[in-house]
């Protein structure tokens, strides 16, 4: 139909500041994480003569109960959180994508067989199930990551499956069928790029989620074990000192966690807004 389409400037281009600020904040976290790699050795150096020092010029964020520099540990923790969340999301999204393609483009029985366990996993509260898996596998960061991946896969699988099903009625996918392209090549060449937008948004959203879950698991003691400088474990450690007035031990990693998750969530919203403005 000859619809009159008049080009309107995209909304996203109107106010660049929120995006710039978000990107600066995220870049700062990355810098912090990279700095953390260089000071990793010092993150566990106890100094019994310097315990629970207030923030000062020497220790910008003070020291904890064993005299370790809190800023150093927050930096190392940034690296751990970002790295492990990224690994979880990459594994979870790739796993989810494969399931989604098989369900959305494959035979109907395959769809039913694969979606049943996906829905079963989704029926549990995500955090609870992650916890259960981590406990069952034995505490540790590796178990935590496996737990997160297992619960993230169905999230990706379900959202991407819907899109994959929708792609089947797109004319360019039908055109690919009439050309004689085998199904798996249609999936890789045409459907995967089609899923790109949804995928990007889901990756960003689940990244923030993974950071929190990881910290939560460590906080209750099923994730990172002391003395690992993981934010959740540090918050837990800081709790005992907060009662006696040494608030900085727990507040510093807490704020670091909060800041990262908020920045990632804002970025997610911005991506989403931009994509819907494009469409």
């Amino acid at each position: 139909m000859a619809v009159t389409v008049t080009a309107a400037p995209t909304m996203a281009s109107r106010r660049p500041w929120p995006r710039i600020i978000t990107i600066i904040v995220l870049a700062a976290y990355l810098t912090l994480a990279i700095a953390g790699i260089f000071v990793q050795d010092q993150s566990n150096v106890a100094d019994v003569t310097n315990t629970l020092q207030q923030p000062s010029a020497e220790h910008l964020l003070g020291t904890d109960g064993e005299g370790r520099d809190v800023l150093t540990r927050v930096a190392v923790g940034a690296g751990i959180s970002i790295m492990l969340a990224a690994i979880s999301v990459v594994l979870g999204s790739v796993g989810g994508l494969i399931v989604a393609l098989a369900c959305g483009l494959g035979a109907r029985w395959l769809d039913r067989v694969l979606m049943a366990p996906m829905n079963a996993v989704l029926a549990f509260p995500q955090l609870l199930l992650t916890m259960a898996i981590a406990i069952a596998l034995g505490t540790g960061l590796q178990s935590a990551v496996i737990g997160i991946v297992v619960t993230i896969i169905p999230v990706f699988a379900v959202t991407l499956r819907g899109e994959a099903l929708r792609s089947r009625s797109e004319a360019f996918v039908e055109a690919a069928i009439t050309i004689g392209l085998p199904r798996w090549r249609i999936a890789l060449r045409h459907v995967v790029p089609y899923l790109g937008t949804t995928m990007t948004i889901q990756v960003a959203a689940n990244f923030g989620n993974a950071v929190i879950t990881l910290a939560a698991l460590s906080y209750i003691g099923v994730g990172a074990r002391p003395p690992t400088a993981e934010w959740g474990a540090m918050i837990n450690d800081g709790l005992q000192h907060a009662v006696s007035g040494q608030w900085w031990v727990g507040v510093a990693p807490g704020l670091a966690l909060l800041g990262l998750v908020i920045a990632v969530n804002i970025l997610t919203d911005q991506i989403r807004a931009r994509r819907s403005a494009d469409a």
Partner: protein, 529 residues
Amino acid sequence: MTQSATVVNVDGLRVAYGGTEVVHGVSFQLRRGSRLGVVGESGSGKSTIARAILGLLPSEGRVTDGRITLLGTDVVQRTDKEMNDLRGRVVSLVFQDPLTSLDPVKRIGKQIAEVIVQHDKKLPRPEVRKRCVTLLNEVGVNDAERRLEQYPHEISGGMRQRVLIAIAIANQPDVLIADEPTTALDVTTQAQVLDLLKTTADRHGMSVILVTHDLGVVAEFCDEVVVMKTGEIVETGTARQLFSAPREDYTRHLLDCIPRAGDRRPGPEFDYQVETEPVVRVTGLRKQYGRTTVLEDVDLAIHARETVGIVGESGAGKSTLARTIIRLETPSGGTVELAGADFGRARSKRLRELRRDIQMVFQDPFSSLDPHMQIQDIVAQPLIVHGLADRAAARTRAAAMLDGMGLGTEYLERVPRNLSGGQRQRVAIARALILGPALTVLDEPISALDVSVRAQVLDLLREEQLALGTAYLFIVHDLAVARYFCDRIAVLFEGRIVEYGTPEDLFENPVHPHTKRLLGAIPDPWRNN
């Protein structure tokens, strides 16, 4: 012309979206009781003007200069609230798409009642209901009492458009603005809706502005016409003058793009005296969805270099026929033979191999090309898939093919969004024809395109057919185009072919009543003018 005779006066109107001006100083008047057509292709600014008159520009849109007066009062300066009061009572709008402009979760009756109550809040309930029934009767909706209780999805497209008109005229506005009111409808329904608009406007003394890309519709409906191009007026005049003696080249060009009776595509006629084996033979084809039969007992034989047209109203099964023959749908019964092979029942690898000989051009070039692929790869892909060339050789052949279609090397690395509709459809045609298929199914290949490029695309299709010898199965709702382009035409009605013959047979001596009805509904710009 006295002041009171002018109901809408647009004077030096400029509209901008963001910083981009899209309407550059447009002036015209609508006289009381007249019907004005605003015609133009996409990007001409015609819909923007309609929206500006209604005060309904999108949020980025702004009137930067000029005046719009409605019954002597200025529109541009009014607040939304003041405009709300005017809309419906003084001026109202009939939208293009009757499916999306009605609220799917509200009953028809409620949607009409809302408009009535909006401007007369004290009206008692039974009275409102009575008005609704009267309105539906007036727009020719039968069984009005029952319709009030129905939801939009329960009634047909034509019926929905009637309901929209009922809503638009509910408060007897002085001016009715119709934005492509019939574009989503098929020919026979279009004729009925235009007729309805005309009689209702006459009866209530309403003036109408009809925004459309379709000159045929203008000819049927309007007494004055404004022709627009890229935000400017090209020509203004009476419909009679415009069709008989257009002053501007652009107008003449638009008129030339409409096939007239007696026009015939270039190249020799298909010789039915010579007995040849058809490339595709469809026998007893049937397609069912559940218990609904969409196609029944369809027989077709298509020869090399022949173009067989399939015409019919929407819902007749045209697209299903195309999709079943191309095997996007599996036939429920009957056979599709492709050069002797059983294409209708072939499976997996065999099916994919056979697809080389039967290709398709889709209706909408905006959705049929993968937005993530470069033009050269889109056209090269079929060659690679069938192992006929490696990537480099396929790209070279694609480039040559595209060049022959007027798309030079500068287009090869572009993605579809950077091409116009006509250019995209060329790419789609190149993709279908690069394999040199025995049959190409054309599913409304020009109906999504602007009027001025339709003729070019048809010419291109014909040239390629003469060069490659492919047969066409041409699904088309526009009978004038079918007559211009096809060797034989099959009329599809309720899933069956009710008439099959050469354009001459069909247009001169239609036999089936449905064919007669279809032919009677074609708008012909030169019949009245």
